[in-house]
Symmetry: C2
Subunit: 191 residues, 2 copies
DNA sequence: GTCTATACATGGATAGAC
DNA sequence: GTCTATCCATGTATAGAC
């Protein structure tokens, strides 16, 4: 119970990186242990199984997403400006995205194919973003249904752009398209 | 040389299915052999390695894409109507997409992360579609650069929608968004 | 709590009989 | 050309000393 070391945290942080870079099926526990500077056998003191570690990594990613949303909410009052900031921040990762894809979309896609249990939790990474975006559209006066539709439309544009940015290894695609999305939000009339 | 059986074709067809359903890393050669009704050891008579078989599967997918484009070109003369037909046909797969994702986007994403050699060939599945769509926009009078940008914008919307359709296991997302894309193309003025 | 050594399962690939 | 048996590497997981 009383743990003095930070190995668990290091393993999760290393897992975040390596799972993002190589996917779940493409990474061994030895990969993660090595990146974290922890001997392989010791991993099992902190996590019962590989799936367990993956779950912790996904939970951490989710915390990051929620922290970002909370930060935007705390610093920006206007829902429209919040959405623009959301797009702007996501767009900053374009170099990474060109190399490894979107950290949320790629894991949701990989785990959605086969991993029944993890699929839901990985999918939640996109679900919480959809819900947050929809909440901003609602705050702008759209009815609930319509807000949700617009949220999906925006996220789809972001995810699809990330996928092509990754596939074509070209960060300029993401720069251009995210700027377009930003302008669209800024100009959009919401009847 | 003179082969009487169709085992090679059966292996490729089975590979198309299983790789789509489970991803490359999630499928063993035994899975493919079983689906094709071929004993495991016999696979190696037709394909030197697993990567070799994967390459043949990707090449087959590419042929399918090119056949579809050729068919649309042969039956529809107006570039705008060709794009609408392209969207309509892709949208027909929405039930499958809800279960396994886009057959082209998911493989490009998975292989793009780590498989250096296969990554390019999988990426070509999206590249040829981008080029074909761009050619239609050019035929509509757009300059080459602008046509390419519009093509990426359209494919990004399709891919992102497919990803969310898959993640949320909800084919109605794809139905609604693809109809929206179709309407947008139909109405779009191209100055 | 930590780490080495190792058990055990899976899966790619090959040998060699037919 | 076909198929069985098997080799061997990798990777998850555990045993047990410290």
């Amino acid at each position: 119970m009383a743990r003095r070391s930070d190995k668990r945290e290091r393993l999760i942080a290393a897992g975040c990186e390596v799972l993002y870079e190589q996917g779940l099926r493409g990474t061994s526990l030895a990969d993660i242990a090595e990146r974290a500077g922890v001997p392989l056998g010791n991993v099992y003191y902190y996590f019962k199984t590989k799936e367990d570690l993956a779950r912790a990594v996904i939970a951490q990613r989710r915390l990051n997403i929620e922290a970002r949303s909370a930060d935007i909410e705390a610093t920006i009052a206007d829902p429209r400006e919040r959405l623009r900031e959301f797009i702007r921040r996501a767009g900053e990762a374009r170099t990474q995205v060109a190399t490894y894809g979107c950290p949320y979309g790629t894991i949701a896609q990989e785990l959605g194919k086969t991993e029944g249990v993890l699929a839901t939790e990985a999918g939640d990474l996109l679900r919480v973003q959809r819900d947050w975006v929809a909440a901003q559209y609602e705050a702008l006066g759209l009815p609930c249904d319509e807000a949700k539709i617009r949220a999906i439309e925006l996220l789809a544009a972001m995810q699809g752009t990330s996928l092509l940015t990754h596939t074509f290894c070209d960060a300029s695609i993401m720069k251009r398209e995210f700027e377009r999305l930003d302008r669209r939000i800024a100009a959009q009339s919401l009847q």
